[in-house]
């Protein structure tokens, strides 16, 4: 809930953090829907020196959809500031509780933009192709960036090309072990299958966004992508992880066009051209199954949070009721197809 107290706290914080702006007042303050991993507030301020300015505050929630470190997300944004990957300026990271009771970070607001919805039949309308080409070109640029020199590399574990799949599989298996509210035979079968049928080693270790999809970027009225958001699951790993996550059919009701953009084959070509990498078919098959598996693990976690009333954001319940059955079905079909073919 937005209160006068929160507004006063933000004013106090900005006065402390931006003394060069002089007296600061809040013109408008609202919470943004989505982004259940953090509470996100849009803050319009008036500065005595500098005039009006839009800021975004991302505050740790009491409970979160994904247990992530804010430092990771902040470092991921900073890894791409000023690059071909559009991101909002990451301004301040605050770990102290005195300002907003929980840690948070502050970004520049990208104004005049909107995000697509995964429930929209055609989220981008006449801009579908233009946005789709940018979307996969930007993803290629993320894969192309030298991960070792990124800010992110100082905050996340280094991984070897042979180990990228093992690390990610173990990470999400642990989430299921800890959070499942009932036995999950499909997910357990998927884990065993993925261990028995490992993918080739990663061509390179890249920055992996971790949640690159419709809903997590902003575009303007001309169909130009202005910002890639929600980097809270960023890590170093196989760039095909991001590609297959972006191609998962959950991200649009138009299943033939993942995310409501390009057909998969076309998307892969755009990504290959931008990244300079090859999308090996065997590796794609593995990471495609992994994408649905990782999704299911996240939905299980969010369902548990809602069930335990730790986070009653309706998005958490939606994840358990809609997204988990979707990925369970998809995984079951992939496992059946693989066994029939063997």
């Amino acid at each position: 809930m937005i209160t006068k107290e929160l507004e006063a706290r933000i004013v106090r914080y900005l006065a402390h953090r931006m003394p060069e702006a002089g007296r600061v007042s809040v013109i408008a303050l609202s919470r943004i829907h989505g982004g259940a991993s953090r509470e996100t507030f849009r803050v319009r301020i008036d500065q005595e020196r500098g005039g009006e300015r839009g800021l975004i505050f991302r505050r740790d929630p009491v409970s979160t959809l994904i247990e992530t470190e804010r430092e990771v997300e902040f470092a991921a944004y900073r890894s791409f500031m000023g690059s071909a990957v559009p991101v909002p300026g990451a301004l301040f990271l605050e770990r102290e509780l005195e300002w907003l009771e929980r840690p948070f970070f502050v970004m520049e607001e990208i104004e005049g933009c909107t995000a697509g919805s995964i429930l929209a039949a055609d989220p981008y309308g006449s801009h579908r192709r233009k946005i789709g080409e940018q979307f996969f070109t930007i993803l290629g640029a993320i894969a192309k960036r030298d991960a070792a020199t990124s800010d992110l590399a100082r905050h996340v574990p280094v991984v070897k090309p042979d180990d990228a799949w093992k690390v990610e599989l173990a990470k999400w298996e642990k989430v299921i072990d800890e959070d499942e509210l009932e036995p999950q035979p499909i997910l357990r079968a998927a884990i065993r299958w993925m261990r028995r049928n490992p993918p080739p080693a990663a061509q390179k270790i890249s920055v992996v966004h971790g949640d690159y999809r419709t809903g997590n970027f902003l575009f303007d009225g001309t169909g130009t992508i202005r910002a890639v958001l929600d980097w809270e699951m960023a890590h170093l790993g196989d760039p095909l992880e991001d590609l297959c996550w972006a191609l998962d059919p959950l991200w649009s009701t138009d299943r033939a066009h993942p995310g409501g953009m390009l057909a998969p084959e076309e998307a892969i070509k755009v990504w290959e051209k931008a990244s300079g990498l090859k999308a090996d078919r065997q590796a794609l098959a593995w990471w495609t199954m992994f994408a649905s598996f990782k999704g299911a693990a996240i939905w299980i976690s969010s369902a548990k949070e809602f069930q335990a009333a730790k986070n009653t954001d309706p998005v958490m319940a939606f994840s358990g009721l809609y997204c988990l059955p979707f990925h369970n079905k998809r995984l079951a079909d992939m496992l059946l197809e693989a066994r029939e073919a063997a």
């Binding site: 943004i32 499909i186 357990r188 079968a189 079905k329």
Partner: protein, 144 residues
């Protein structure tokens, strides 16, 4: 129960999604109201079918266990035999869920056994069941 729970929930969805949420200022409140409306729609779908879906899954798993028990020895074989022929008595959704969870735990054990033994036919039978069961639990949403 009339009006039927599904109808009540569908109407609540329509009221909130089409009338109340659009009247709210854009932002967290409006988005949450719309999501809550969608939750009502999903719960409405689940209400009518929940018991049937679980009873059917439990029946199919027990039949599968009964057939498999003929070829499985040891502790697993005993566990499979123990649930064969049992019928659901507690028909509340929570009661069915509890039994369903127990049976799915046993299904995981049987599937691991089939994979280790290379019993392709049993693996395929389990996977077909899982695919059909997963299809029956999916929720259909209108494009919004």
């Amino acid at each position: 129960m009339k009006p039927s729970p599904e109808l009540v929930l569908n109407q609540a969805f329509a009221k909130i999604a089409m009338e109340m949420a659009p009247a709210l200022p854009p932002g967290y409140g409006q988005g949450s109201a719309t999501t809550m409306a969608v939750l009502l729609l999903m719960v409405g779908q689940e209400f009518d079918r929940a018991a049937e879906v679980r009873v059917k899954e439990n029946r199919v798993m027990r039949a599968l266990f009964g057939d498999a028990a003929k070829n499985v020895s040891g502790a697993l074989g005993q566990k499979l035999s123990a649930v064969t022929g049992v019928r659901d008595e507690d028909l509340t959704v929570s009661g069915l869920d509890r039994v369903n969870g127990e049976l799915k735990g046993l299904l995981i054990e049987l599937q691991v056994h089939a994979e280790q033994k290379g019993d392709r036919a049993l693996e395929l039978r389990i996977l077909r069941f899982l695919s059909e069961a997963a299809a029956a639990r999916q929720v259909q949403l209108p494009a919004m």
